[in-house]
Symmetry: C2
Subunit: 209 residues, 2 copies
C-alpha cells in the first residue's frame, strides 16, 4: 500500500490557515496521512480576480463575521488569538524562508513545519508583524539557524523564483483561497472546515490502490 | 429555563442552504433547540455589494470548487444531488409562499418546514425549476393545499411587503450569505459548516440563563 499523501496549501497571511496549520499535524498522524506543507501567495491570485486586498477587507459584513468566527474557533481549539494589524500582513518574506527551508537551502536544523507554526503563532497568537525581518530572524534563531545567512538565502533570485513557481502552480491547480488541500488524485478541498474531509478522502484513495 | 431558540436564515436558491435545511431538523431536536425558518432573498444583499449574480458565477474557480464540494457533501449525507439549471434559480415565488405559510396565511394544513425541504429537494435533488408556479403548486397540492388560492395569497401586496421586510431585517443583522444562523443573543454563524457550532452556542446561552 502506498503512503497516503496530502498537499496543504497555505498563505501565512490567511486567517483560516492559522487553525489549519495548528491542527493538521496531529490529525494527519492519526489518519496515517503524510502532509506536504506548500506555502504560496494569495495576492497574485486575488489580483487576477480583480481584488486588490483581502475579500475580508473588501466586503465589510463578511470581514466582521470572519473575525468573530475566528475568535470563537480559536477559543474552541484552545489557540491564542490576536487580530493582526495591519491585515493582511505581507507574507512574502515568511513564505520565501519557509520554501527555502523545505527545499533544504537552510540546512539540516531547519524544521519546516515547526517554523510555519511558529510564524502563525507569532502573527495570530502574539500580534507580531511577520513582514519584519526581526520577527522571522527571531523564529529562525530559536531553531539554532543563523538568521542573517538564512534571510539572505531566502531572498536570493533562486528563492524568489521558487515562490513564484509555487504560486503559479497553485493557480494552475485552481486554488482561489487558503487553506486548500489537494489529494494525490487531484481533489481540491478549500478551507479549514474541509481538513477532515480531505484526510478521509486521502485515506480512502490510498486504501483502494 | 427558557426554550433555546435559533433563527435559520436561508435563500431557496442558495446551494449550501440545501444540506443545512435537510440537516437542521434532526440536529436541533437532538440539541433541544427550537428553530425558526426565515426565508429571505440574497439578491438585494449581493446587489448592495456590487454583485449582479451569485459569487459562484462571478468567480469561476470558486464556483467549480463549490459544485464539486456540494456533490461530495451530498454523497456523504446521502442526499440526492442535481445541479440546478439555470443557477441561481429565481427564489422569489418559493420565498413568498413559504413566508405566507409560516405567518398562517395558507391555513392549518401548511407545514412550513416540510414545504421548505420539499422545495430544496425539488430544486437540488430532482433538478426542477422552483421559479415555475407549476412546481410550487405541485408541492402545495401534496399537502392538500389549494395551489391556486395559495399562490394568489403569496403574491398579494401584503406578502410581497413581508418578504421585503424580512430581507431588510437580514441586511440589518449583517447577513451577507446563506445559510446563516442567528442566536437569541445576537451571534451570527454563517454557512452550513457552522450549524453545529450555532446549536452548541444556543444551548450554552439557554443553560446559562
Amino acid at each position: 500500500m502506498p503512503a497516503a499523501a496530502l498537499d496543504f496549501w497555505f498563505d501565512f497571511a490567511s486567517t483560516y490557515s492559522y487553525p489549519a496549520a495548528m491542527r493538521i499535524g496531529v490529525l494527519a498522524a492519526d489518519a496515517g496521512v503524510s502532509v506536504r506543507f506548500r506555502p504560496f501567495l494569495l495576492g497574485p491570485i486575488f489580483k487576477a480576480q480583480g481584488w486588490t486586498t483581502s475579500p475580508f477587507n473588501l466586503y465589510a459584513a463578511k470581514g466582521r463575521h470572519m473575525w468573530r468566527d475566528l475568535e470563537r474557533l480559536c477559543a474552541d481549539l484552545g489557540l491564542p488569538f490576536r487580530r493582526p494589524d495591519p491585515f493582511p500582513q505581507n507574507s512574502l518574506l515568511a513564505a520565501r524562508v519557509a520554501l527555502a527551508g523545505f527545499e533544504g537551502t537552510l540546512g539540516a536544523n531547519f524544521r519546516g513545519e515547526d517554523f510555519c507554526r511558529a510564524v502563525f503563532h507569532a502573527e495570530f497568537g502574539e500580534g507580531r508583524r511577520i513582514d519584519d525581518a526581526a520577527t522571522i530572524g527571531d523564529l529562525l534563531a530559536r531553531s539554532s539557524i543563523d538568521p542573517r545567512a538564512a534571510l539572505a538565502a531566502a531572498q536570493s533570485d533562486a528563492s524568489k523564483a521558487r515562490l513564484r513557481a509555487q504560486t503559479d502552480e497553485a493557480q494552475r491547480l485552481g486554488l482561489f483561497g487558503a487553506p486548500s488541500f489537494v489529494t494525490a488524485d487531484g481533489e481540491l478541498f478549500w478551507g479549514n472546515d474541509r481538513l477532515d474531509a480531505a484526510l478521509r478522502w486521502t485515506k480512502r484513495v490510498a486504501n483502494s490502490e
